[in-house]
């Protein structure tokens, strides 16, 4: 089976499994909305302050709760399921791509859901909204790749759930920085190109690292 075909097949079934499970829509998004709600409750109805901190809070929530999305069952799949795919002849790079794409789709949906809640609760005033069409997928792609690589690293380890978070969050800092600074640039009318480039470069580096490490990580002793 060609790699592209393997990716398509795995992606289709992974997404079907995730959407039916509904973990992102029914658990992560509502949990993130509650977290977004706690800040206005803590600082009070200070509209200028909320407008100012809204984008930063949004991206922090995306990073922290996005980890829950990257930890979804299929990206930290049990050893037996991975073994089955290895014996079936799935290319490790194809599995990396399929898992990353599935997580990417879920993260973009999560970003949109949390974004709507942020607009409703914080009313951030951005000069322009259309650059978000690039910022959201760039950030989601980076986070998805970090999550998949972390899932591959901790696969088969007993402490995998907590380890994924420990690996993902520090590596995701450049993504948080790029996304938050770009959105701040949109709020104050400053240039955002360098921050978008930072996100794009991080994504490219992660893609190369993910593809190159997929096989060694899969074949390493567990």
């Amino acid at each position: 089976m060609r790699m592209r075909s393997q990716i398509r097949t795995l992606l289709r079934f992974e997404l079907r499994d995730e959407f039916r499970g509904g973990e992102v829509g029914l658990v992560v998004v509502p949990f993130a909305v509650v977290a977004l709600l706690t800040i206005p409750m803590a600082v009070g109805i200070d509209t200028p302050l909320l407008e100012r901190i809204g984008p930063g809070i949004y991206w922090s929530i995306i990073m922290l709760f996005g980890v829950l999305v990257t930890q979804r069952q299929s990206s930290t799949a049990p050893t037996a399921a991975r073994d089955m795919l290895r014996l079936a002849g799935v290319d490790p790079a194809a599995r990396f791509a399929a898992t990353t794409l599935a997580t990417f789709v879920l993260l973009v949906a999560f970003e949109i859901g949390a974004g709507l809640a942020t607009v409703a609760l914080y009313s951030p005033a951005l000069d322009s909204w259309w650059p978000l069409a690039a910022l959201l997928p760039l950030t989601a792609a980076g986070l998805a790749m970090i999550g998949t690589i972390a899932g591959n690293i901790v696969s088969g380890l007993e402490t995998k759930t907590s380890l994924v978070a420990l690996i993902v969050v520090p590596i995701a800092v450049p993504l948080l920085l790029g996304a938050a600074q770009a959105t701040e640039g949109l709020r104050v009318g400053a240039g955002i190109l360098r921050w978008v480039l930072l996100l794009a470069i991080v994504d490219v580096v992660l893609a190369v690292a993910g593809v190159l490490t997929a096989r060694p990580l899969e074949e390493s002793p567990r």
Binding site: M1, T9, Q73, S74, M84, G89
Partner: protein
């Protein structure tokens, strides 16, 4: 002389703080079925994973289906290995039919819904095609794994306590899988605890004690 399906020489597996397998020498002849017994923690599953090419030995050498262990060549023979382990490989929110279709599509390299449904029929799950894996019994999930083996038609069959929790019909299915592989000139290695149940369907038995192949009988 036909070369063995599996040949291990002085294989050891070391994990942090423990030596799981020690100096294992093992040969599986074509057309043979072997049972592997041993207490919990004796290293049976680890040995099965080595034979399945999923775990690289710390020391020692060997070949599986002609591919030297620890080399990239094992990836070319993996499709000829059928493994059913303790844990389910099924996606919980996919139906039994979809789970088998996924595995079959990857193995066959094309959409394989028809083959998946036919295989489920063969293992007595025709009526449960649309049942989600999460809502299925362990026995049903195990049957799906067997259905996968019917599609793969492996030359090397590896079963890790496959008899546990099976009803008589499903047990017959295990026997059928073993007979099918050996009649085609392949080999089967069956890890089990219930000696009385397994002995009649294998050619020889081995016992693992603390990572050492302590006894062998035909």
């Amino acid at each position: 002389m036909t070369s063995p399906t599996v040949s291990l020489r002085s294989v050891a597996v070391r994990k942090p703080g423990a030596l799981i397998l020690r100096s294992i020498d093992l040969e599986l002849a074509p057309g043979s079925a072997t049972a592997l017994f041993g207490a919990n923690g004796s290293g049976k599953t680890t040995l099965l994973r080595v034979v399945a090419t999923l775990l690289r030995p710390s020391t020692g050498t060997g070949e599986v289906l002609g591919a030297p262990l620890g080399t990239a060549a094992v990836e070319t023979v993996r499709k000829r290995i059928g493994l059913v382990g303790h844990d389910t490989t099924l996606y919980p929110n996919l139906t039994l039919g979809e789970n088998l279709e996924l595995a079959a599509s990857i193995v066959l390299g094309r959409s394989a819904r028809t083959e998946a449904h036919q295989a489920l029929e063969q293992v007595g799950l025709a009526a449960a095609v649309d049942r989600r894996a999460a809502r299925s019994s362990n026995g049903m999930k195990r049957r799906v794994e067997f259905a996968r083996l019917l599609i793969v038609a492996p030359d090397l069959l590896l079963l890790d306590e496959a008899h546990v929790g099976l009803d008589p019909d499903a047990s017959k299915l295990v026997e059928h899988l073993i007979t099918d592989v050996t009649s085609r000139g392949g080999s089967a290695l069956v890890v089990a605890h219930e000696e009385e149940r397994v002995k009649p369907i294998v050619d020889r038995t081995l016992t693992l004690v603390d990572g050492i192949l302590a006894g062998a009988a035909s």
